[in-house]
């Protein structure tokens, strides 16, 4: 006997994510899910971002890694609440981990950054209740990453092209990378930054502030 169904495989994750999304909307929190390959510079981008905020701003970070709390220790230096989520093997964050990570924190946060585990595949499938999704691509990778990982770029609102100070030293063609991202996601916004020289960070901050 065949029983037709319309059940989402990740419906339990989606249920928790919907609760988080409702909570973020109620508290006017802009929650950004940051996804990239390992080593694209998510943590460096967050360091420069936190450095630029006045201490009175209500900013918080949950940072996910398979092991170690190195990233949380790097980010805690800027005086904003930071918590490490150590997934213990899982290659992505899920909504339940975020819910647990937020336990005991004040709810009136303006911006909550969710630094996902470095991985361009699995984080794509897990809704974390975020307000927007940003994918970080660095110029030491290939311009065709958006074509190789279309699901990830297709679900992103913003692409941060990072390490642009290295462009003179690598064969990476930034216009081609942007064109590839737009083929996969015609509405994607793009900012080009260098966390070393600070170039483009004003645009990135303006993008964040525009979403508050």
């Amino acid at each position: 006997m065949r029983v037709p169904l319309e059940r989402k495989v990740l419906n339990e994750n989606d249920r928790v994510a919907a609760g988080l999304r409702e909570r973020f909307a109620r508290n006017r929190t802009f929650c950004l899910n940051l996804i990239s390959s390992p080593g694209s510079g998510k943590t460096a981008l967050l360091e420069r971002t936190l450095e630029g905020f006045r201490p009175a701003r209500r900013i918080a970070v949950l940072t996910g890694d398979i092991q170690t709390d190195n990233d949380a220790r790097r980010l805690a230096r800027y005086g904003f609440p930071v918590r490490q989520i150590t997934t213990g093997g899982a290659c992505h964050l899920d909504a339940r981990m975020v819910e647990r990570g937020l336990e005991g924190w004040p709810e009136d946060c303006e911006i909550l950054f969710l630094e996902n585990v470095g991985n361009l595949v699995c984080p794509t499938s897990y809704d974390l209740g975020e307000s927007a999704r940003a994918v970080v691509l660095s110029v030491t990778e290939g311009e065709d990453k958006p074509l190789k990982y279309p699901a990830t770029f297709h679900h992103a609102d913003l692409m941060v092209l990072n390490k642009i100070d290295l462009l003179p030293y690598v064969p990476f063609q930034a216009p081609l990378a942007c064109e590839n991202a737009r083929r996969v996601q015609p509405e994607i916004e793009i900012v080009e930054v260098s966390c070393t020289t600070g170039q483009g960070l004003d645009q990135w901050r303006a993008w964040l502030e525009a979403h508050l």
Binding site: V3, R7, K8, V9, H155, P186
Partner: protein, 122 residues
């Protein structure tokens, strides 16, 4: 692997809703943009189900295409070679339509009391 575990969890939950009948086959709908590689998923499912109370359980994976909808002519079309423009009228004014699916689409249940042979399906 955690997606495969979620699939088995969903099959268990649906099986309970249907009176605990043994499920011989689970139909899954996987979109090209779901972030899931169907053959890897199949491997993980078959690994996890071995020795599980759900065993024997076959999986029928249906791949759903990446589609967009044209805001001008209304056509829904398959995206080929990453081209987001409308396949009918060539308009660039299109929006995402499908390809995100990761769903349990059906269960094949064994009738109670029916001595069914082991599954043969895919």
């Amino acid at each position: 692997m955690s997606i495969a575990a979620a699939v088995l969890e969903a099959v268990r939950a649906e099986s309970v809703l249907h009176g605990g009948a043994h499920v011989s086959c689970a139909g899954l709908r996987i979109g090209e943009l779901s972030g899931v590689e169907p053959e890897s998923l199949r491997f993980c499912l078959e690994t996890l189900v071995t020795g599980d109370p759900l065993d024997p359980l076959a999986f029928d994976l249906e791949i759903r295409p990446w589609t967009r909808r044209c805001r001008d002519c209304g056509a829904e079309f398959r995206v080929v070679d990453y081209n987001p423009a409308c396949a009918l009228c060539r308009s660039a004014n299109t929006e995402a339509a499908g390809g995100d699916e990761m769903e349990l689409s059906y269960l094949e249940l064994e009738e109670p009391g029916c001595a069914s042979p082991l599954n043969e399906k895919s």
